[in-house]
Structures are given as C-alpha cells and as structure tokens.
Amino acid sequence: MPTFLRVLASRLHATFAGRRLDDDLDDELRSHLAMLAEENRRRGMDPEEAARAARRRLGQVTRIKEDHRRQRGLYHLEILAQDVRYALRTLSRSPSFALTAVATLGLGIGAATAMYSLVEAVLLRPLPMRDAHRLVFVTGGPRRLAEAEMPLSAADYLDLKAAARSLASLAVFEEGSVSLGGPGGEPEQVQAAFVSADFFAALGVEPALGRSFTAEEDRPHSTPAVVLADRFWRRRFGADPKVLGRTIKLSERNCVVVGVLPPRVAYPGDKVELWRTLQLAPPTRRGGYFLYGVARLAPGVALAGARAELDGIDRRLQQQFPLTNGDFAFRLVPLQQRIVGGARPALLVLSGAVLLILLIACANVASLHLARGLGRRGELTLRAALGAGRARLLRQMLTESTVLALAGGALGVLLAWAELAGLEALAPAAVPRLAEVAVDPSALAWAALLALATGVVFGLAPAWGELGGGRLAGALAERSGRFTAGAERRRLRSALVAAEVALSLVLLVGAGLLLQSFVRLTRVDSGARPEHTLTAHLALPRAKYGDDRATLAFWQRLLERVEALPGVAAAGLGISLPPDQLEVSDIFTVEGAPAPPPGQSPPMANLVFVSPGYFDALGVRLLRGRRFAGADRADAPKVAIVSESLARRFVAAGNPLGKRIRTGGPERPNNPWMEIVGVVGDLRYDGLALPPAPALFQPMGQSLWSEMYLVVRSSSQPAALVPALRRVVSELDAGLPLAAVRTMDETLAASVSEPRFRTLLLGAFSLLALLLATVGVYGLVAYTLAQRTHELGIRVALGASRGRVLRLVLAGGCRLIGVGVAIGLLASLALTRLASSLLFGVAATDPPTFLAAALVLSLVVLLASFVPARRATRLDPAAVLRSE
C-alpha cells in the first residue's frame, strides 16, 4: 500500500475513533508525566516541585493534544462537522427564524422548480422525434386570412405532394374515433388517427414493437393495418407482445395490428390510442377539407425556402382551379409551435409569476438574515473581542446560511415533486405533452443556486459589517442598546420588504384579472340550458350501417326508445354540440343576396344536422316559424332552420321565413335550395370565448350522418338515466359503444378547464406571494419594535397615549406599504398587458381590479403590522426601564 494511502486510511479511522484515541493519548501523557516526575524526585526534588517541573518539561498538554488531533484525523472535515453542529444548535435556539427561512425558501424553490419543469417539458424540450426541429405542420386557408389554419382537401394534398421539392416527405392524417368490439372488454369508442402509410416515417418515429405501415396497407379496400399506443396496448391487451399480427374489429371492420409505439410518443395527441391506415380514395372533386399534413423539410432547405416554393404552387393551382383555389394558400408552421403554441402564453405568464415568487422568497430570506444579524451583533462582537478569528466567524455565518439554504432546497425538491403531481392531476387536456413532464434537474439547480446565493450573500452581510476593521468598539458600545443601531441596514431591509409588497401586488392584480375573465367566461350563454341535460356520442360503423335507410332507422328507433324511458322530458340527436363540439361548417348562399365581391369567399355557417327533438332537448328558444318534424324526410321539400344571427346578418330585411338558402359554394351548383322554416336562438359551437357564428340546421331525415350526439333532457337527476340509456343502446346493437357520456354541466365545465387551470394556478401563486409579503412586513415591524422597546418605554413613561404609540409604530409600516403599493401598481400597469391574450371581457388595465388588489394587499399587510404594534401599546414602562 502506498504511504499516502496508508496515511489516509489511518486518518479516516482516527476520524471515527476520536474519543478512544483521545483517551489513549491521555493515558500515555499521564504515564510520561509520572516518569518525568519520578526522575525529578530521584534528583532530590520534593514531590510537588517534581510534578511542576515535569509539566514544564512536557509542555502544554492541551497544545500537544490539539496538534495530535490535527495530525491524526481529517481536520477540516471535523471542523466542518463542528460548525454544522454549532449552526444547528444556534438555529434551533431561534426556531421561528429558522423555520420561516426554510419554509420561505422551500416554497419559492418548489414553486419555481415545478413551473419551470412544466415549461421545459411542454415548451422547450424538443419533441420526442428524430430531428424534431425539421418537422412542419401543413395546412391551408384563405389567402386573406393569414392566421387561418384549415385542413387540406385530398386533391390539394396530392398536388402538393407531387410538386413540393422542399418537403422531403409529406404525410397526412385525420383524427376520429372508432368503436372497438371483440375480446378484451366491453365495446368502447377509442380515439384514433387515420394516417397515410408514410406518417411515422415522416415523423421519424419507430414502433417499439413490430413495424410501421406498408404502402399496400394504405390502399383502399385492402385490410387496414393498426399501430397501438403504448398505454392502450397495456390497458386493453395487457401488454401482450403476441398482439402483433392479430386481427381486431374496428367499427365492424377487420384490421390487423402491426406495431406498438414507444411510451410517451403520441402525435397528434396524448389521447390517441391507435393509428390506422387512412386508405385515401382518389378524389373525385377538389373540395372536402379534412386532412392535416406533417412533413419533414428536405435537407438544406430552410422554412422560408419551403414557404417560398409553396407560394409558387399556390399560384399555379390558383390559375388551374380558380373556383376552389382562387383564394387558397398552403401554410407551413413548425410542428413544435403548432403543438405547444396554444399553451405558450399561459405558461409564460405563469413562469413569470413564479419568478416573482422566487424573488419575493429571496427578499424575505435576505430581510430575515439582516434582522437576525442585527440581533446577533452583540454575540458576534463579543466573540470577536474574545479572540475568535474573523475568518472563523465568517465561516460560522456561512455555515449557518448554507445549512438554511440546503434545508430550504431539500424542502423545495419535495414540494416541486408534489406540486408537479398536483399540476398533472389538475392540468386540463389542453396542456399538451403532459406525459413528458418530470422534475427538471437543471431548473432545480438554478432555483437552488439562486436561493443559496441569497442565503450566503445576506447571511454574510451582518458578519461582514460587524467585523469590519475598527467597528468593534462602536459595536460594543451600541450593544448596550442606547444607540439606534444599523440605520443603514434597516433602510435596506425596508427596501426589500417594499419590493416584496410591490411584487405581490403585481401577482394579485394578475390573478384578479384572470379571475374576472374566468367568471365572465363561465357566465357566457352557450345558447343551451345546461341543467338536467345529459349528452353522449354514438358512431354507427359504416360496415354494418352501409345504407341511409339502416342508419336513419337506427336513429329513429333509438329516439323512440329513449323518449319512452321514465324521467325523460325530451331527446334529440345532432352532429354538433355546444359549447365546443363543432363537426361541420360550410359556405352558404341566400337566394337573392348579392354575390360576394370577386376574390372574397362567401359567408360561412356552422352546419348542424339534427333530429326534431334537438332544440327542445338542449333548451334552445324557437324565435319564429316551426321546429323540424318527422315529416321532413328525404322525399319531402327541403327545409332548414337558421340561427338568429344568420337571419339578421345575411337574410335581406323582412321575414326570413319562406326565403331559400343553399350550402356549398359555386363549386357545388347541384346542392338543393332549402326553404327556411324557422329561426332559433344563437348557439356557440366554437367555445365560449368566441361570439356565436351563424348556424344553419338541416333535418336528419334529409341530411343523414352516421355519428351523432344524443341529447336527453330529464325531469330529475340526469345521471340517473345513464344505466337505462346504456341498456337501450345495447338492446338495439350489442356491439355499439355509448361514448362520452356527460352531463351538459360537465361539458361546460370541461370547456373552460384550461382558463380554470391557469386562474387557479395564478391565484395560488398570488396567495403564496401575499403570505410571503405578510411574513416580511410582520417580521420587519416586529423587529423594529423590538429595537425601539427602550425608546417607546420612555415615551410611555413620559405620558404618550396608547393611540399615539400605536400611530408612531404603524406610521413606518404604512409608509412602507404605500411605497410598495405605488410601485406595484406601476409595475402592474406595465406587465399585465403581457397577459392580455389570456383575458376575456376585461381590459388589462381594469381599474376596479387594480383598486381591489391594492386594497386587499394593503389591508392584509396592515393587519400584519398591526399585530406587533398592538403589543407595543401594552408596554409596561417600568419593566422596560428596569430591564436596562
């Protein structure tokens, strides 16, 4: 063994055997002294003299032991352990300081880490696909509306695929649902994506099990192939690898399973449970917009280059097909931006909020340290005067603040972990990529570093100030308490607390604005009466309900049976559902209305095919004319009902009843004219935040659809109807799943889940900020008071009234709050506009919100300073003066 290793081993051993080695050395030194004394006695000294001389000869025993100890073990480690032990002891003597500091740091670090982990996973991390930054999302839309991203038609897709050189691969998909029957469970509706064969190749995703699709499997009339999502594979097939090659029935059609994707890879969404080949038939016309594209930029091509090429293709198609493509343009967006772009503003605002919280937490800790330093100056100066080295004292302070920061950091990790779990549970489906979220080590490291730096800098400040050269005597004199101490430091502390107040106000104002928006959003009238209403979704498989007669017969039988159930007041079917389940919209023409100016598209309306009972079941008001009836069949005259806003904006003045209307543009001149027989109240199908679009209703008997929402209005609790509904459906078709069964109230709540999520989160953040600021103000006032006890005692003794003392004490706090609130209001004015895209029905500078937030904050922190101030009025002047 090399000598240095032997030494290290011996030192390590000694570190842990310290006490025994001390005893050993004691014994040895005692025997040495005895031998020396014996020798001295032999030389004729008397015993006492002999012992004294022996001690002189040996030297200072404590020094020998200290040298021995230093040589023996890991000296620095032992000193560190000693410092830490001492720090823990000191901190445990002021538990309220220690707990407040640790809790403050923990809350700040926890919130910041959780939020940044969320942002990192959702916004910043590349998608889990090969070279994800080269992927683009392909849509189209009217040339005039640069923002519109609408699906492509099959014809446009095929033309683009054939022409575009800058897109290395262009795949398309359509989202939908299929019913899955057969072994492994009840029939259920599963979320599916119908994709072209090259879909996974374009994305750069390899199945974890099996393979991707072949071109043959994508040909119409061949057996479709299916790739399963990992979660679905585990849930429905028990993670059985033998599922590969098995035939499953999707919407009554045989499909073969060829692969399973890796976990956490899901495009176009986390909800998709399986991917099936699209089997796109050669288009017979240019319209029919239902495909979204994903493509990989060709090597060496930038996004701008690809866009330029697509412009050229647009122009060529424009000349070739002026009717459909006259106003059409392809659009490219980076795929990542498309996926997470919607969540971006809210997440950025929320991360700004946690940054403010972290700042408040740091200010709080700094202020705590400053206060404590002031209180400890006595101890410090005394120790310095007794000979403790300055470096030793600094090291002690450093150890203390580091211990605090580490404890706060540890608490922060726990909190971040718990908060992320909570966030995931709370976050709505609208937050993309949630499956990828985990506590992010780098976010944690940054937050901890900031906290550590704050702790160290402000923890050392008192020691630095106290021990500065030549201050010792002054500090000792001040220690007697008869000088007002540390005015400079108190100013710094006041500034910190004022900053906390200002920052919390910004958060409170932001939360207030979001809360207002949320309340206004939930008060928006969807057009339907949601109470006592139950909805569900049914999709009739084309393979089983091939012709219109069978489909219509099923829908009619279903309605008859449901209406006959006890407790059902009304029942209806419709392809779209308020507030945000919109299936179809189309352009329309009112007979006799002037044609749109050249280059402009005709108006658009939501197109809803409904059964006669749809309006009653939803509680929609009939304003004029009549509802649909069973007699509105395919062979009867074509009829339509329009919404109030369509009638008002697009039907020439006068009575809309009896006027004729037609869907489809000039491209489809064969669409029949329909007579308007009724006008109903406006319904929102595009979410509560958007104004209702014009709507055009057609009777189910004349426009049949194989996927419908069932709407049932009950006379009592709607949820009680669910078992009966399921029984009715399974009696009619045992293989047909009844999906998305929800009350209308639940649907409405779900439609605002994203705003609710951010409102809750920002609300929680602002409460946290308020709490921290309150702690800060309380601490400052209480501390200032403790410093001024002597002065206040004299004032009371000289006859100052309680009210006067209270005013005196509160005055300082009020000034502080006033300054903080003023700065906070200005900062809010500057900052809230950044959140304006999240607001609904309220201005970013809404004066009542600003006022209310300022008032709440002022009251709470005033209360926080009132509590210690009241204590000051109860001062017993005699006791105060005696204690001097």
Partner: protein
C-alpha cells in the same frame, strides 16, 4: 542561558526518533525523549511533548508500531518499535542526510569568515 538551543526541523525529529528506536529497540515516549536529549548532550532541548506528534506521523506512515506494555519500573506505558518499512526508510534517509550534510559542510567551508 549561555548556549542557544537549536530549533529542530520536523523531518529531523522524525529521523532522530527512527534512529533511536533502531539502536535502542522498543521504547516508550519518555524514553525516546530522554535518549534524544542525552545523545544531543542537552543541545537540543525539546518540549518532550512534541515527540508525540512525530510518533503519530511515523505510525501513520507505517514506519513504527505501538503497543501498551510495562516499563522497567513496573509502570504502564506505550512502547514503540521500528518496523521493516521503518528500517528501510531510515537507511535511505540516513544516506540522504549524510550526503546533504556533506554538501552543506563543504559549502560552509567556502564562506569566508568576516
């Protein structure tokens, strides 16, 4: 006091302890200190306590071993003995020392006296 007592270097003390143990056999701390004082004819007066840091250093390097025993006067004492590694170290250090002291002696001889 008439004669200045020399400060001794740490390494020198270690060397003297090793040499003492090599010539005298196992010895306790007091014995080692006494022996060094006698040999140096009281020129090197040490605080006898400093011997213990040297003993610890040598033990850590594995050059000496220690065990509790009974002294010639029937007193319990810790006895130190040189190990094989210690003897080898002593041999090389002694050679080194002689070479250096020779060099220094020659060097000092060159310096003209004032």
């Amino acid at each position: 006091m008439g004669t200045e007592k020399s400060e001794i270097l740490q390494g020198t003390l270690d060397l003297m302890v090793l040499q003492t143990l090599a010539t005298m056999g196992p010895l306790h701390g007091y014995g080692i200190a006494r022996r060094i004082e006698q040999v140096s004819e009281e020129v090197l007066a040490i605080n006898q306590g400093t011997i213990y840091a040297a003993l610890l250093r040598l033990a850590q390097k594995g050059w000496i071993s220690a065990a509790w025993g009974v002294s010639e006067n029937g007193r319990r004492a810790k006895f130190y003995a040189i190990t094989g590694a210690g003897s080898r170290q002593l041999a090389s250090e002694a050679e080194n020392w002689q070479r250096i002291s020779g060099v220094i002696g020659r060097l000092l001889a060159l310096i003209p006296r004032s």
